[in-house]
């Protein structure tokens, strides 16, 4: 009897905790959900004044838009390289820092420090490093390489990948370090007694416990990879070299022209892609992560 009451709570108490959700729900509805409904509506009419239903035509136009194609291709190419790198390099760092090396917490601080530093503050240094006559080119010339005008060449992707890793590796590393700490010690000890080497331990024990974290870091890095516009914008402005033209550039420039149909169709399309990606990753976690969840 008593247990039952505790679970359900008295009516008034439940009412209070439900009411607590209201301010946030109202805000989310007003600023995100309801306008997103309008965005979906806008994506299917010809213009906000005539409001004639045109079905998928806006989407078709969007797909045929050269700027959109280039922007999504560049963004996809960037994410495909940067996200796995961010996911696994930070895992590597966390595993290395788990070993007994001197100055561990100092190194942790250094790796985390880019998180603190606003990108805008250091963007000049990046410009100096990767200028046509800049430091990286000087070093490359010293070793007999050819200089590249980094920010105006296809290799510009390398620069923004480096900036992305610089900014995000520390954060991901912390997530892994805490996950590594929470692996039950006794399992590792048993493995050690049985003579398992550290490589065996890593792949057969630790990796399994880490899989939810790997998934989370992956999603987080993916989300952050869509923010790379910030770095490109600060480095090169609204109209960068072709390979650096990102989806957010496309959105920004479409905002300037107030082309609601294109914008709406792009937002809806992108949200669908995101939902599919997240769903696939969550299903993958359900399949692979099950055996260690308690």
């Amino acid at each position: 009897m008593k247990k039952n009451r505790n679970q359900c709570g008295r009516r008034k108490e439940r009412w209070f905790s439900n009411a607590c959700l209201i301010p946030s729900l109202v805000g989310v509805l007003i600023f995100f959900v309801i306008p997103f409904g309008i965005v979906i509506y806008y994506s299917m009419i010809n213009n906000p004044i005539v409001k004639e239903y045109v079905g998928m035509e806006n989407y078709k136009n969007l797909m045929e838009n050269e700027a959109f194609k280039r922007a999504s291709k560049n963004t996809a190419a960037f994410s495909l390289i940067a996200v796995p790198l961010a996911t696994f390099l930070s895992l590597g760092l966390a595993v290395l820092l788990e070993r007994n090396i001197p100055g561990k917490s100092f190194f942790r601080t250094l790796f985390l420090s880019p998180l603190m530093v606003p990108t805008a503050s250091v963007v000049l240094v990046w410009q100096v490093l990767f200028h046509k006559h800049g430091t990286v080119n000087q070093i490359m010339e010293m070793f007999g390489g050819d200089s590249i005008d980094w920010l105006k060449a296809p290799q510009g992707q390398v620069v923004i990948i480096l900036m992305f890793l610089w900014k995000n590796l520390g954060y991901n590393m912390i997530l892994y370090m805490s996950a590594l700490c929470s692996i039950p010690r006794d399992i590792i000890e048993v493995a050690e007694l049985e003579g398992a080497g550290s490589i065996y331990q890593f792949f057969h024990i630790k990796l399994r416990y880490l899989s939810p974290t790997i998934l989370f870091v992956f999603i987080l890095s993916l989300i952050n990879s869509f923010k790379i516009f910030r770095e490109v914008y600060l480095l090169t402005g609204s109209y960068p070299y072709g390979k650096l033209y990102m989806l957010q550039h496309f959105m920004n420039n479409t905002f300037q022209n107030l082309d609601y149909q294109k914008l709406s169709a792009a937002a809806v399309l992108f949200s669908l892609v995101m939902i599919v990606i997240i769903a696939v990753l969550l299903i993958a976690e359900n399949i692979f992560g099950k055996d260690v969840e308690n």
Binding site: E13, I34, L96, R99, P114, M116, V122, L124, F216, M274
Partner: protein
């Protein structure tokens, strides 16, 4: 014995490797700080090639190469003097950043406390569905969320605002609220961002039921349970999450670019990208001034920050 020695050698190699990697991570920051103590002539000489014609650089030799320098020839605080005293533009933009970031952080946290309490007390099916929807919203990139935000801002005339300072005399400090109100196009959607709710709910779910039961026996109501039990137990989590939110919005570029037509209200982060052609001589010092709040936060509360990051851990659970 040999195994141990091999281990030791491996550890040394590893330490050196990590040290080099760590140095690379701190390098851009250190360079920015070091360069902020140069005279503007020296900056023109070193980096002039990057920006073409520069003011006051006619009698300075500009090499074609861009020379990255660690240590200034002559250490001065001239750049800082210009940034902080002579030219009020930068301080204004800094103030713009404060006017956006501080209210967003504080109000987002306040909403998160109440909402997370709602999510963690009496969990049920409906609540978990809503919570999952919040996670999806949290994972949506700006390319998706800024479009609805823009529609709302446009509908309610928030895009083109200016500061009407209506308070006079002794009430002048209240004008801060007018300034924030002028920035509502960015502030309002940001305070409802579900990020801190997501983290704080995870923390609040760990509050032991026995505490709540005990308080109830003593006659505490729901409001008291929230303020006297949940809130004190989440104090350090609130600090950590607050730091993460602050850093995120201090660094923001996308939202003001789209939601604020009035460029005089743009934060320093956006303004810094336009600095390049004009006052390059000052840009390093401005950059340093801009990173001071977050750096201080980091030095003071690194452990809080690390704790805050680890609350996330995974999407579920």
């Amino acid at each position: 014995m040999t195994v141990k020695r091999k281990d030791r050698v491996f550890n040394i190699v590893l330490t050196v490797f990590i040290a080099i990697a760590a140095l690379a991570f701190i390098l851009p920051t250190v360079l920015t700080i070091a360069n902020s103590f140069m005279t503007s002539n020296e900056i023109a000489a070193n980096y002039g090639a990057m920006f073409g014609n520069m003011n006051g650089s006619e009698h300075t030799f500009i090499s074609e190469d861009v020379n990255l320098k660690f240590i200034p020839d002559k250490v001065t605080v001239d750049q800082y003097k210009s940034v902080l005293i002579k030219n009020s533009d930068y301080l204004m933009k800094f103030w713009n950043s404060v006017l956006l970031t501080v209210p967003i952080t504080l109000i987002q946290l306040a909403i998160a406390v109440v909402t997370s309490y709602g999510f963690s007390r009496y969990p049920g099916k409906v609540k978990s569905i809503i919570f999952f929807a919040y996670i999806i919203l949290m994972l949506m990139p700006y390319q998706v969320t800024l479009v609805p935000n823009y529609l709302v801002a446009d509908k309610f005339g928030m895009l083109e605002t200016s500061e009407h300072l209506i308070f006079k005399g002794a009430a002048k400090p209240l004008n801060v609220f007018c300034m924030m109100w002028a920035r509502r196009a960015v502030i309002l959607p940001s305070i409802f961002s579900p990020f801190s709710i997501f983290l704080l709910t995870k923390v609040m779910r760990r509050v032991p039921v026995s505490y709540v039961e005990a308080a109830k026996l003593d006659g505490a109501g729901e409001w008291q349970i929230m303020t006297k039990i949940y809130l004190p137990m989440c104090k350090s989590a609130l600090v950590s999450i607050g730091m993460l939110v602050f850093i995120d919005y201090w660094n923001m570029v996308e939202q003001p670019l789209i939601l604020m037509k009035n460029t005089t209200m743009h934060p320093l982060s956006v303004f810094l990208s336009q600095i390049n052609t004009g006052d390059v001589g000052l840009a390093f010092a401005v950059g340093v001034v801009y990173m001071i709040p977050t750096i201080l936060m980091f030095l003071y509360g690194e452990d809080y920050l690390v704790e805050g990051i680890t609350y996330a851990g995974g999407i579920k659970g």
